[in-house]
Structure formats: C-alpha cells, structure tokens
Symmetry: C2
Subunit: 424 residues, 2 copies
C-alpha cells in the first residue's frame, strides 16, 4: 500500500501495519549502527580546511600589528576583524572576533546581562524576579540549554516559512517587560531550514518592547552555508535596528565552526558601539583575549570573503548529495503515505520532519531499535518537550550517502509504523 494512510480504510491500515512491522523486524535483525543525531561536518568537509594546519609561518606571526603570539588585544586582530566584519556584513569596528565557540559568546552575553546591567537596562537580569526568552520552535537545543541553566522562562513561539510568528512575538514583547530576548537562527534555521523574510527582520527591529533592554540573539550560524545557486537574501539586523533607533537590540553571532574546523574555528559577534564596549569590558576581566594565532590562520587561509564563499561551494559539493539522498528517500518511501512532511532546506545542516502528532518519540525509539540513532524527540523544543510530539531533526552531513540511504529506509518505515499505530 503506497496510498495515503489517513484516508485508507481501517482494515487496510491493519494489513499495512502488519507489513510495516515485518519490515521493522527485518531491519532490527540487520542491526545497523548509524547516527543522524548531530550537525557535525564529515571528515571530507574538515579536509577542505587542512591548509589551516600549516598556513602560517614565523614571519607571519611576528609581522603586522604586533606580535600575535604574545598577550594583548581583547577583540581580535585587525585582519580578522576586517574579514569577519565583511562576513557579518558590517564594519570591522562593529565586531569582536573571539575564540573557537560562538556558543560561548552567546552564553557569556547572557551571563554578563545577568550580572551587570546591559546598556539601557534598568537592572541586571539576575536581580529581577523573572526573566523570559522567546524561543521560536522547533529551534536549537543548545540555545534552550543556556536558558534552562539560568532558570530563564522559555516561551515557545511558532516558526513558519518567513521566521517566527511575528504577530505572536509582537504581542508578547509589547506586554511583558520580563521578556528580555528572542533566539533566532535567521538563515537556514535549525532545524526547519527557513530564511527570515525582510518583513520579519524589519518587525523584529521596529517592534515595541515593554523591556527597554530587549535583545535579539541573532545566531547566524549558517550565513554562507548555501546549497542552491540562487541565494535568498537576508536583511542585516543591525542595520535594520539602527534605522529603527533600536541598535542596542541587535546581538549578531557567527562562527567558522562549520566552515573551517568545527572545534578549532573562530567566532564573531557584531553589535552596536554601546554593546561592544560593554562586552569588551566584561571580556577584559574574564580572559587574556582570544587566540590571535588561530585568527591569523583563518585570515591567511581564506584571504577574504570571496575566499570563504569559494570554500563553501566545496562544502556544498560534498553535502548536497547527502541532502538529496534524504529528500529522495522521503519522496519515494514515505511521502505518499501522507503522514509526514519534510522540510526543503536551501542550506544549513538539517532537515525537519513533522509526523502525525503523538508519534515522534515512538519513531525515535523504533529507529533506535533498528540501529539508527536520531536526535531525541523533543530536543528541538524548550525543556526538551515537543507539545505535539511530532518533530524530528535529521542531520545528514556526518554519515556517508549510502549510510543515509540505509538510515532513511529505517526512518521512513519507523514513521509509517508509529503513524499507523496512532491512526489505528
């Protein structure tokens, strides 16, 4: 039976469930061991940046703007600020180039706000009775983990093709002064893959917020991670906020974790002069500064923004067939059953699969029985709880294309299995 399950007769579904169960039993017997859980680049992607290991010499580190091997400088070397200013679409004076983790820049930005009032804040967030963040969901579990660790209330907001549901966002931030932030992955959103529309960006910049110290945490993790020739434009949040007179609202982040080496890249933060000055003051107490030698490696290896774009086309060549394997397996093995939808990402690292409500956990369990590890059901929602139990994130970059095909057979059958149980 390949026609759609919802409109099939109950006895047809029962027969089909028996078939699907037999397929599952056979898959369990095969005993695969595949992992589709994390958005990790594959070794071939990492190989693209091996030049980083040897691209600078003694002459490089001693020349230019002072000896970068030594102490000194909190916001990055000038060459790196120029390159990553371009990368973020802002001036070199509008960025801080940091260490190997943009997650740390985001985490520390919130912790700083917790301990000392940010520009425009009536008080440090930690001094207030309640702090809440808007969490467009499904979203990125590590954003949510930061909130959870600080006891920040997370308010899920629906996310659609153009970004978060802005009617909902505007209503909430206008009303509640304890809502201090919103998490955004504006391009190739994790996991739905959507790109924020100009209108969404404009509304985020211009909306009235009850909190004078409201911040948009703009995690542009996939800024150049395109998989199509035609690239959807994304309005620059900092410019939009400046125009709206809300420049301090914009905290933009990026990194080369999925450009160079995932664990040994460079991070960047772009914001208003007041926010940068606040951040640099905090950083100068926290740390001796970023690893400037690794920043220079990145500058020398990529050269300029064009170099980064060229490099990313090589990434796309490697992962595009993997993404295609996911899409085509879904189309041939599951689509007709009409119990699940799959996102159509034009870039980034993920697929988002939505199935019949109440089945996601069961699907993940069934796939695990058959040796395919998926991101835990609910991981893409605050507190790990998907209210509809229907979203699953698929991460196809790390496994090989053949493994993905095998994994997708298991996943598609697991979806059929769980949905038929639910429809029964």
């Amino acid at each position: 039976m390949t026609t759609d399950y919802p409109s099939a007769a109950p006895d047809e579904r029962a027969t089909e469930l028996a078939r699907v169960r037999a397929v599952h039993a056979e898959q369990v017997r095969r005993g695969l061991s595949l992992d589709m859980t994390r958005g990790k680049p594959c070794p071939e992607q990492l190989d693209l940046a091996n030049g980083l290991l040897t691209c600078i010499s003694v002459a490089d580190v001693r020349e230019a703007m002072g000896d970068i091997r030594n102490y000194g400088g909190i916001d990055g070397i000038p060459e790196a600020k120029a390159l990553f200013g371009d990368y973020m679409g802002v001036g070199s004076e509008e960025v801080i180039v940091g260490g190997n983790s943009s997650l740390a820049l985001m985490h520390d930005s919130i912790v700083n706000a917790w301990l000392r009032p940010v520009p425009g804040a009536p008080a440090a967030w930690g001094k207030l009775p309640n702090i809440a963040f808007l969490c467009p969901s499904p979203g990125y579990d590590r954003h949510f983990a930061i909130c959870e660790s600080l006891g920040i209330e997370m308010i899920p907001v629906a996310i659609g093709a153009d970004g978060p549901d802005m009617d909902e966002v505007e209503a909430l931030v206008a009303e509640r002064s304890d809502i201090k932030g919103i998490w955004c992955v504006p391009r190739y959103s994790n996991p739905t893959g959507i790109v924020y529309s100009d209108d969404t960006v404009t509304r985020l910049a211009t909306m009235k917020t009850a909190a004078p110290d409201f911040r948009v945490f703009w995690d542009n993790a996939y800024a150049v991670h395109h998989l199509t020739e035609q690239v959807r434009p994304l309005r620059n949040l900092l410019r939009a906020c400046e125009q709206a007179g809300t420049a301090d609202r914009a905290l933009m982040f990026g990194s080369t974790s999925k450009i160079s080496f995932a664990g040994a890249g460079v991070s960047v933060m772009a914001s208003s002069p007041a926010n940068l000055s606040y951040q640099k003051k905090a950083m100068s107490v926290q740390t001796i500064g970023p690893d400037k030698v690794n920043q220079l490696r990145h500058v020398r290896f990529f050269g300029d923004l064009d170099g980064i774009h060229t490099h990313m086309r090589r990434h796309a060549e490697i992962i595009l067939p993997k993404f295609a394997a996911v899409s085509s397996a879904f189309e041939s093995l599951l689509d007709a059953a009409r119990v699940a939808t799959l996102s159509r990402p034009e870039g980034g690292y993920f697929f988002s699969l939505d199935s019949v409500p109440g089945t996601a956990q069961r699907i993940v369990d069934l796939a695990a029985e058959a040796g395919v590890k998926l991101t835990p059901a609910g991981a893409t929602f605050p507190y790990g709880k998907d209210p509809n139990d229907q979203n699953i994130r698929l991460a196809p970059t790390l496994p090989g294309k053949a493994e993905i095909a095998e994994a997708m057979e298991v996943i598609c059958n697991s979806v059929r299995y769980a949905c038929l149980e639910t429809l029964k």
Copy 2:
C-alpha cells in the same frame, strides 16, 4: 652620598636631594621610552615555541582518539589530559584541559559558583548578601579585577616569605562564613616571588572554615618557571586537601601562556571529582569545548613533562640575565641608601620593590617623567590601593638587558628622589 638616608643628617639629605633632582632632570632630558609594566614574554622566548606553528599534520589530527578537528569533548583530548595531569602533579582524570586562558577558567569558576551552588554550598554565591575573598597582597591585579567586577569584598592579607599570614587567614575563615575563597599564586608569587611552604599548604588544606563551600583558588601560573638550579619543593594542594578531607576546597589552575605562546596556549584546571563534574556540566552549556587542535599541537611539541622542563631551561637562559640586571642595578645603585628592599625571585616573572611608605605613587610618576613606564602604584593591591603606598612591581622579561639597565638607573634615582622628599 651612598650611605643610608634614614640615618643621615637633614642637611646631608638636602644636599643629596639636590643632586638626585639634577640627575632626574638629566634623565628627563634623555627622554627614554621604556616599559616595565606587564609580565609579557619577550620575542626570543616566544621564538622557542615556534615549532608549535607547524608541528602537526593532517595524519595527526585524524588519528588517535577521534577526529580532533570536529566537535566533541568538553574536558580536553586524552593526550593533553595526560600531559597536563603530569604538569599539575595529578592524574589525567583529575584535570580539565581548556582553551588559551586560565584566567577564563578562574573567572568562570567564580561566575558558576555565583549562579549555581558549588558542591557543598548551601546556596549560589549570588544569592547571598555578601561574598568575600581573602587577597594576599601584594598580589595579582587580574585576580582582584574579577572580584571587583562581581562586587566581591576583598580582604587584604599580608604575604611573607612562606605565603599568606596563616594566623590571619585561619582567624578570618573560621569566623566569617561569607569568606568563600582565597587567591593564591603558590610558586614565585606575583609579585613577591615567594614559594608557599609545606606548612602553609597544609594549613590551607586543614584549616576550619565557617563556609562549607570555601575554595582555594590556586593559580600555579609559574609552576615550572624556575631561575635556579635548586628548585624549592611545593606541596600539592589537592593531595593535601584530600588527606585533610577537604578535597572540594582545592581548585588548581595552570597554563602554558608563559611556556609556549602567551596568547595561544593551553589552560588546565585540576580539582576533586565533584568539582570537575560540576565544572564540566557548566562548560557543556557554555561552550562547544576547547580547541583540541591546539591541545594536540602542545602535546606533540612538548612530548612529555620532561620536554616542558627542558623547554623552560631555555626560557631561563633568556631571562636570567634580565633578572640579574635588575638585581645588580639595585645593589649598586640603591641598596646602600636603605630606603628600599627588592625581592629575590627564584623564578616567575616579577620583582617586588618596597620603598619608604608613602612614596610608591611618587616613584611611578617620577619614572614616567623620565620615560620609564611602571605598573601603576597600588595595582598589586585590592581596589588598586596600596594602604602603605610603598609597593612597586617590576616586570623585566619583555625589555632587553640594556634597556633594563637604563630603566633601573631611572627607577633607582626615582626611589632616592621620592624617599628623600618624604624623609625631609
């Protein structure tokens, strides 16, 4: 006049002051531009580690314990944990190997304690009405800056040849439960150069503290930075605390900032199982993990602890003549005046100069007039305030030997000048 000023007759001192003023005027006219402010390694020291730039290959990063270019692992690669466990005198399972800044490990340890109760704590420090740290002084300004940024009350404690005045320390921690920590640089203390005696370490480990969550912040920044053949032993704090049943009290830190590259080294933290588990949990929310590629560079470059010791003998060869230049200038130009004492460091990065009370600021100003920049007077004390205005830190590693000799002429004459004004 080379005899001692305090016992000279007033008119002798007046004549001498006139002579010293003339020398000062001449020095001002010479217009030097020398900097003795920060404990930075000189380029020749950094050159010793240039092999780090090219010591690992593609084969290295892909072999062994997983692909270190990728995401994964929060507490360091196994090879680095083995090396830096040895370095800290503990097992590899007792360390976290971090990024390029041990200051960040210390800062973040305190911020974590601020936000979430540490093992044994009745409450997060940020929830309590007052938090205080003991600050053996003179000490390290960046330790004090962390306290100041969080509003932690700093209580200065005298530091002598064996470490902090333990009678004072014991009395304070026994009485006040708001005293949660003490800053220690146990070997070649910044700036006095002393090494904590076994008795001091034992007393820090065994003393009764009113706070159940008291922590010793053990910044062993100069663990292997010896300048003598004979090395004074230092008792291992973690072992001492374990023996005393206070293992969670010990937070030990180290880094290669003054071994490899000051800005691109590796940091390490050693502590009890409970503290490490607490710390790793916090780090897994904060960051994707440390730069594992740079950790492997350090492992390959140094090989083992013997490799580090051999490397440090090369550092000593470079900086020993500079330290000797400071000592001999002091002896020939100032000692006889009996208005100042100079420390006799057997390692580390600093000299500590104590002059007649009430003169340090004036000395720093006079030296600045003559083109020699010194660490600001008071910087070695909490809140930047030396109660006796008599301590000055000298950092002789960065300038050349000839520059140091010139700078010391200025410094010694400035001391004479300021002290004669005061004695007048």
